[in-house]
């Protein structure tokens, strides 16, 4: 008798919780263990154009990374765009649920398990009739929430989600837990959720700096900046952004504390630039299209630190870098290796597998 595939729905209630990264990590691991695996992101929310095809960036990258054979339009059947909103709110709109159903049946064909990745938040897509709540019911999925730890809402999103998903909610994975909250989540929150609320906690994954980093090259591209020096060090990893507007004596002290961060400063602030180079910051971003002193460029070449010139003002450039960092996706092979490492260490795989109902494999 043909067995129906198991369905695991990984969802989130807020943006930038690391859902895609965790999803990628879990699929890679299951794949490595030899399960026949399907993947879908029913509602795409990250616009990407591949040739003529409009698709979702996460769906595209996951398909490429896993070498999936299913077509992109099945992996991500509905893409959230302005065009879609217009279409959905007019008469004679298409039946999105049916499209998703059809795609699902093709993707799930002959699989042991199908992993579904939710959009920005579980409610997204309700107006299309394909909210995560609805789809979870539709495909009889087991739902696991990926929650970024937050002091203000530490269990609230989760408890509301249980009301909405009901028994389908199988548990939670806490992600990006700050070091000082780690013991609280593990020792106080986890026992409470499991014993009092009956919600299993499959993993508590600490904040990880390398995972949050982007390369200087990604910054240069994202900022549309001109690389003035240090071209051969564009793979330097940037973990944060600092505005260099202080006196030079303070600069060194501040840079030392935040060594993995890029420094945004005016092209005319040679003192700050030099301090950043001396401390060994990973990347220097110069604002206002002000060309720096040439000796700085020579030094940056020597110390292998990229210098990127951008037209924005200092604050504007810093905000952009911040956004790039916040929205960065896990694409770099080093990061993929790192997420597998993190999941090995902090995720209770056995328990998660048992919950999905998959037969165990070594």
């Amino acid at each position: 008798m043909k067995e129906e595939p198991k369905v695991l729905y990984l969802v989130s209630e807020q943006g930038f919780s690391g859902l895609h990264t965790i999803c990628l990590g879990i699929t890679l691991r299951l794949r490595r263990q030899g399960y026949r695996l399907g993947y879908m992101k029913p509602l795409g929310n990250r616009y990407r154009k591949e040739g003529d095809l409009l698709t979702d960036d996460d769906a595209y990258e996951t398909r490429r990374e896993l070498g999936l054979e299913e077509e992109l339009k099945d992996i991500c059947p509905v893409i959230f765009t302005a065009q879609l909103v217009r279409e959905a709110l007019s008469e004679g709109r298409p039946d999105y649920l049916s499209s998703v159903r059809r795609a699902f049946s093709r993707v799930s064909e002959g699989k042991d398990i199908v992993i579904l990745q939710g959009p920005l938040a579980a409610a997204q897509g309700a107006f299309l009739g394909i909210s995560t709540y609805r789809l979870a019911r539709e495909f009889a999925a087991r739902v696991v929430m990926v929650e970024k730890y937050d002091d203000a809402f530490f269990v609230d999103h989760l408890l509301c989600a249980r009301d909405a998903f009901g028994d389908r909610l199988e548990g939670v994975i806490y992600n990006m837990v700050p070091p000082v909250r780690y013991s609280f989540v593990n020792e106080t929150l986890k026992p409470y959720l499991e014993e009092t609320e009956g919600i299993p906690v499959f993993g508590v994954i600490p904040e990880d700096r390398p995972m949050k980093a982007v390369s200087a090259r990604e910054l240069a591209e994202g900022l549309r900046g001109e690389v003035l020096a240090g071209e051969d060090a564009l793979e330097n990893q940037v973990e944060g952004v600092l505005v260099g507007a202080m006196g030079p004596e303070h600069a060194i002290s501040i840079f030392r504390k935040r060594k993995g961060q890029c420094v945004v400063t005016g092209g005319d602030r040679s003192d700050i630039q030099l301090a950043a180079l001396e401390v060994g910051m990973p990347c220097l971003i110069l604002s206002g299209s002000l060309y720096p002193s040439s000796i700085i460029l020579g030094k940056a070449d020597e110390l292998k630190i990229p210098v990127i010139l951008v037209p924005d003002d200092t604050l504007g450039a810093a905000e952009k870098v911040d956004l790039i960092l916040k929205t960065s996706r896990t694409r770099d092979p080093r990061k993929l290796a790192r997420i597998e490492e993190l999941l090995d260490m902090y995720l209770d795989w056995e328990r998660l597998l048992r919950m999905t109902g998959l037969p165990p494999r070594s």
Partner: protein, 697 residues
């Protein structure tokens, strides 16, 4: 370095016949100064230049000369240096510009040149410099239009342009040089090499330098301390303000370094610091022409009241003493001077004094054992005899062991007299303050020489614990130590720290209160909140659990309201300390000079009063006490108006222990004990809050 100053032969590579070319000026200067060795012009066209056979290449030179002076276009310099190396030349002066100072390409070229020099084991002065001169050889391998006068001052400068200006100025004012060196980009030979070379050079009595930055700070410290024991070193350091530092960084590509670190490094090594270029030469004139005064007692001899008063003021401001004259001096003066004269210090020989009155007074003062140095002031009145008086001075003070400084004031009417004084080695200053500043520099040098070694105590410490903590923090990719970690490090070095616990939630907070024991203090713990009081992040005098819970809520609420985006680690619970005075003790590792210790007044007024003092680690008993004594608030610590004195000894010990900690662990980049709570005498002190940043440098 002998090859630079006393070469047996010199090749001028890039020598030229064309008037106005640098390659011609250099050759002319070498030939014109009377250089006794062989000179080989090198020019691809061969032929003859200024009457000498020119060689088409380095390879074709008849011997390997001691020194090569290179004046070819920048791009060709590395290959020329290669040829020099192959020929066996050991030293080169690269005058050519177009290196680090000239852009990315130039920067790369300089790295290439450096590599070439290393490969051939050659010493290189420059590039981008004016050249060098040695007046005893004599050799003038500069392209300056003015030749330096012969004297006892060795001078080096990071600015070539300043060199040419200095040559002109010193020539006009009769100040001579033993050596004159433009160090340019300091690719290889730098101030450290020069100090080493000049240390035992008997032609040089004083070493002076103009610097924008120091490349090898810690080596400079070691060497300068040695050299200053033998002869004075006077430095004018530019780029001491924020604006100046910025100019230095874009000009030289090096950090100007912190002003405090420079001040501390000069103090440590006895290097005399000039505040301006002019002062640099004035002080050097004093050192190169007069003996260092035996003490700080100064006598003034003048023919006018006003300048005498001005000088007396300047002396006191400079921390020097007006000498009290011996009785026999006073009677001698009374014997020889008109009754209206002033027979006490300042000795006033009156406006109508001719040279003979100066002679009589000077003879009396020279015999007085209460006087270490004499300032002789002359203002040109109608009957005054500047030239004769200058001769009196020259005859009168020779070989008497006292330091004599002339202040012949005025314009052209004293030019001739000044010429006589300078020729005889008596420095003349046109204004009294200049003379006083020079004497002060010389007296400070004397007192530096006479102070003994500082006693550096080695305290018992548990280095292993500290090692373990640092490795763990670094392995976690962190640079800042947590409250608890910093506390453990300090305790391992015997630095008392208040009992403190970090609570990341209320349950932990209540437990912490019980463990430490009431009363306690609660403070917000957040990496972003430096001023905890301002955001309502501190509660003191918490007497029980209920109050602690309330404090916990209130602190968190205040911080959420005032700094909603701050990362909050939790709340720190600390034992409540007895009433005390507050100090700060800290260390900031200076990129050039290493660990710079700081002590200052703590508490909320620290930013306003900025009452702080600095020293470079390691410090011993004396220097740690000196740091405290330099504070304006030192007298508050000693107890004022009936207050009990604070435990100053305990603070000095904390400074020394911190000094040992940061010397043992170069990985510590910064640390702050703020506040250090200091109790009354014999009651000790305790670090209430401590912060530490580590990282490989």
């Amino acid at each position: 370095m002998r090859e630079f100053f006393r070469p047996h032969s010199v090749a001028v590579i890039g020598a030229s016949e064309k008037p106005g070319k640098v390659g011609r000026v250099v050759l002319e200067n070498i030939l014109g100064c009377g250089y006794p060795g062989d000179v080989y012009p090198v020019n691809p066209h061969g032929g003859e230049i200024l009457g000498l056979k020119a060689y088409p290449s380095v390879e074709e030179l008849p011997e390997a000369p001691d020194l090569a002076v290179i004046i070819v276009p920048a791009a060709a310099v590395p290959s020329v240096l290669d040829q020099c190396g192959l020929k066996g030349i050991k030293a080169a002066v690269v005058i050519s510009a177009g290196f680090k100072e000239a852009g990315r390409e130039g920067y790369r070229l300089e790295l290439e040149l450096e590599e070439m020099a290393r490969r051939h084991n050659m010493r290189v002065l420059g590039p981008n410099c004016l050249g060098l001169a040695d007046t005893s050889t004599p050799l003038n391998a500069t392209f300056a239009r003015t030749t330096p006068l012969t004297g006892r001052l060795a001078f080096f400068s990071q600015s070539g342009a300043l060199c040419t200006a200095a040559l002109g100025w010193t020539r006009e004012h009769g100040l001579g040089f033993s050596k004159f060196i433009s160090i340019g980009n300091k690719m290889d030979v730098d101030e450290v090499d020069l100090l080493k070379a000049l240390e035992d050079d008997w032609h040089s009595r004083v070493i002076a330098g103009y610097l924008e930055g120091i490349k090898r700070g810690e080596e400079f410290l070691r060497l300068a301390a040695e050299v200053t024991k033998k002869k004075p070193v006077v430095i004018f350091k530019a780029g001491t303000t924020q604006a100046g530092a910025k100019a230095v960084s874009s000009h030289t590509g090096t950090l100007a370094g912190s002003e405090n670190a420079y001040a501390a490094s000069f103090k440590r090594t006895g290097v005399i610091r000039a505040e301006s270029m002019e002062e640099l030469f004035h002080i050097c004139r004093g050192f190169s022409q007069q003996p260092v005064p035996a003490g700080d007692r100064v006598a003034i001899l003048t023919n006018a009241g006003g300048p005498g008063i001005i000088t007396a003021d300047a002396l006191e401001k400079a921390g020097l003493k007006m000498a009290g004259l011996e009785e026999k001096t006073i009677s001698r003066l009374k014997e020889h001077l008109p009754p209206a004269s002033n027979f006490y210090n300042p000795v006033d020989v009156l406006g109508d004094a001719l040279a003979d009155r100066y002679r009589a007074a000077l003879e009396a003062l020279m015999e007085d054992a209460n006087i270490d140095s004499i300032i002789c002031i002359l203002t040109p009145q109608a009957m005054t005899q500047p030239v004769e008086t200058a001769r009196v001075l020259v005859d009168g003070c020779a070989g008497k062991g006292k330091s004599v400084f002339a202040v012949f004031m005025g314009g052209t009417e004293i030019d001739e007299a000044e010429g006589i004084l300078h020729a005889a080695g008596i420095p003349n200053y046109r204004f009294p303050e200049t003379a006083v500043h020079t004497i002060r520099a010389m007296v400070e040098y004397r007192s530096y020489l006479s102070r003994g070694e500082d006693e550096v105590v080695s305290f018992e410490a548990d280095r292993e614990v500290v090692d373990r903590i640092f490795s763990r923090v670094l392995s976690e990719g962190r640079y800042q130590l947590g409250e608890m970690e910093a506390r453990e490090v300090f305790l391992s070095y015997g630095i008392p720290v208040a009992r403190t616990l970090l609570a990341t939630n209320l349950t932990e907070c209540i437990a912490a209160g019980r463990e430490i024991g009431y009363p306690v203090v609660a403070k917000i713990a957040s990496p972003q909140i430096l001023h905890k009081t301002e955001v309502g992040g501190v509660k003191v005098g918490i007497g029980n659990t209920d109050e602690l819970i309330e404090a916990y809520e209130e602190i968190n609420a205040n911080v959420r309201r005032l700094m909603p985006n701050a990362t909050v680690w939790g709340v720190v619970v600390q034992e409540m300390l007895k009433p005390s005075r507050e100090l700060i003790v800290g260390m900031n590792r200076d990129p050039q000079f290493g660990p710079l210790l700081m002590v200052g007044l703590g508490g909320i007024y620290v930013e306003v009063l900025k009452d702080v003092s600095f020293r470079l680690a390691p410090v011993g008993k004396r220097e740690s006490m000196e740091m405290l004594k330099e504070l304006k608030t030192y007298w508050l610590l000693r107890g004022s108006r009936g207050e009990k004195p604070a435990d100053i000894g305990a603070v000095a010990e904390v400074i020394q222990r911190v000094s040992q900690l940061v010397s043992d662990f170069p990985v510590i980049q910064e640390l702050d004990i703020n506040p250090l709570r200091v109790f009354d005498r014999d009651m000790g002190c305790v670090a209430a809050d401590a912060r530490m940043i580590i990282g490989e440098s």
